[in-house]
Symmetry: C2
Subunit: 425 residues, 2 copies
């Protein structure tokens, strides 16, 4: 082995997506092609916790077919976690533990597949290992359905959610339109995106005015404060004009005081805080103020796990970013993240770029002002032009006996070499 | 024209499905092939209301391509309605009006595409027209996602919902499994089926024990009274064993007193009745009693409109039933409904049968006792064997620019010939 013949440690972080495993597939397949560069490919069980607890999955025990199947399997095949490392000053012991585990298992490359927090962690690990004079390359792999990472044109995971929400909105709208004469007049779909309205914006792709498909009529973005009177007036006018009204609402919609609508302090019969989201809240308004019959849906995990309807562009980019991360490692780069660069919108062309992790960390990319229309209930043509390329192509998974043939890996751990780690509370 | 050269009146009724338009496609394409038998094919705008209000859509203005596109378009392309005709004794005027409209537009065949109520209506219209000595053939076309019609092995619409719920449950379960270590431990998916647990049962098809896929761990059926202590104990034990728990709950789950869980009288901060369904109710229980982190989803219209994931068997049966209805008319049958007959389960073989409408009307086909396991939280092998054939095949719609190419028809009305109808309130 040369100096880069050391092992790899890869971990998935934060909320999983329909295509994070495609990035894992890109990392593992590419690294396997370079045995002169890399030794074993270990993956953290449940993300970075796997490193802290020295629970390392040995991917060499997985067949090439199983690794290939990651390409079409949603969720996080090795387990993910919601766990943010504190700053080095606040919890140096965690960083030391990571380095101890990396040393014990001869890790030369750390790939961290996650959102903004994870890129921040990867950056800190890079700084810490450099400060110790260690040769550990730390490379981020972007992932988030929220599409809120900066310096990349888009984030893997988002395109597939966007497609799912656009298609589901179009389908449900056809349903509501059929029923409106005697039944449901208002349909509300709650979608993810607590801080940024990218997913809600994708609902607008359900529209096709050439075909007389006008729904959704109202999109509620977290970037626009919710004005109850304006909303109700728009619902009412839409029902008068079209006979029905379809609303796509981000879970992160806030009222004029900056409070989440989903947390408006409602209580159930037992006095428990009400657990409903934005959709039932809005449905309540529509019923009490407008006396209109409603239906509502909350897509929740269904939307980000919907690999059955992933966009081909999204899956290909997720894979390419995993592959690029390995190539960066081969080039001995560190503290870096591969990005998606949009070379052209029409026709859509993209390539892989790169950005220093120090720049990415903790910057949130919200929907630009010029992507939301003047009324505040829809998207602009600029936004549509941005979004459309990301939902192109149908990357269907294989099916067996009527069901998608998703893989569950063996996930066998290697033997521990270190004493147990006591996490600070 | 011979005596059967008269026009057709077709109407869609009740909640629409992903494949009711495939039945319409079967009716229209088959009737168009028999100009010697049929004149124009009219469709009621918004179902039977179209007949009462003399709003008849002229399908001859739609191209063959548009009619073909109904095969892959969800919702009700002509509009549906929730409107049940009363008995002839209670509202003879409505039946007289139907006959007046049928006479005015030379209708010789009435196809009514709907669930139990609609078959009842079709039967009454058949009886009424016969009592007047009129030659109007009344033929039902079955449709309901609830799968609760008797005398047919299954109902078109159900297979596609079943597939959607099974796939979505598998996908969301992979997501939850990834997150459970540090985040969501209980995921609850609320599905349709107010009186019968067929759709909830389909959630079990997400399981593949050979692959170590055990979710969903709990299914709540409307047929089994909800026992809170037993439910919570099962959730708790499942989280201990697997690290997480996935629940598929029918919207129609009732408590031991026979009251819907979704209507347990909870109120929001304004004193409005809470609009949540079963899923947020159960999530509240899980949080307050077990202190476990939860997520919940309500699929609502998304499930019954999800033509993007329809089962091939379902779409083919929906079309075949529409076609068979026309063939029955050609054979001069009346007061009859084509059915799906299961000739064999392994390998799955089906054919078209028939049943008298008088038998179908108002009988509800619930999940048989031997389809629910002893514990009451899962399905039996008999149920699995019944369900699996119905979700076979992926009947994907065509896509254009990343979105399914659903059709919106012209739906042009013909000129009225009668005075307006005053509906009794």
């Amino acid at each position: 082995m040369n100096k880069h013949g050391k092992n790899i440690f890869y971990a998935q972080s934060g909320g999983v997506t329909a295509v994070i495993n495609a990035s894992a597939c890109g990392v593992i397949e590419t690294a396997r092609k370079h045995p002169e560069q890399f030794g074993k490919i270990y993956v953290g069980k449940n993300g970075i916790l796997g490193a802290l607890h020295e629970e390392l999955i040995d991917t060499s025990l997985e067949t090439p077919e199983a690794i290939r199947a990651l390409y079409h399997t949603p969720g996080g095949a090795f387990g993910s976690c919601r766990y943010k490392l504190k700053s080095i000053e606040q919890n140096r012991a965690e960083y030391e533990r990571l380095i101890d585990v990396f040393k014990a298992h001869d890790i030369g490359t750390f790939f961290y597949n996650g959102g903004g927090d994870s890129q921040d962690t990867a950056n800190k690990v890079a700084e810490f290992s450099q400060s110790l004079g260690l040769d550990i390359r730390c490379i981020g792999v972007p992932k988030t359905v929220d599409n809120d990472l900066p310096f990349t044109d888009n984030c893997p995971g988002f395109g597939s959610v966007a497609k799912y929400i656009a298609v589901s909105t179009r389908e449900a709208s056809l349903d509501v339109a059929s029923m409106a004469q005697t039944s449901t007049k208002v349909f509300i779909l709650e979608v993810m995106g607590r801080h940024a309205g990218w997913i809600a914006a994708a609902g607008a792709l359900a529209q096709d005015t050439d075909k007389n498909m006008h729904a959704p009529h109202i999109i509620l973005f977290p970037e626009i404060a919710f004005d109850q009177a304006k909303f109700l007036a728009k619902v009412s006018a839409t029902v008068k004009q079209h006979g029905y009204c379809v609303v796509v609402a981000s879970e992160g919609v806030k009222d004029l005081d900056g409070k989440f609508l989903a947390e408006t302090g409602t209580k159930d019969a037992f006095g428990h805080a009400q657990l409903g989201g934005v959709a039932p809240y809005l449905a309540g308004l529509v019923q009490s103020e407008l006396k209109l019959k409603y239906h509502w849906a909350v897509a929740d995990y269904l939307q980000r796990a919907a690999r059955h309807l992933s966009s081909t562009v999204d899956v290909e980019q997720a894979y390419a970013l995993g592959k690029a991360a390995v190539e960066f490692a081969i080039e001995n780069k560190t503290a870096i993240m591969p990005t998606i660069v949009r070379d052209s919108t029409t026709p859509y062309k993209w390539s892989i770029g790169e950005v220093a992790l120090s720049k990415v960390a903790n910057v949130e990319n919200k929907l630009p002002k010029d992507f939301i229309d003047q009324e505040g209930f829809g998207i602009t043509e600029a936004c549509r032009a941005y979004l459309l390329p990301l939902i192109q192509g149908e990357a269907y998974p294989p099916y067996v006996n009527g069901m998608p043939d998703y893989v569950v890996l063996k996930n066998q751990l290697i033997n521990k070499k270190l004493p147990a780690f006591e996490q600070k509370k």
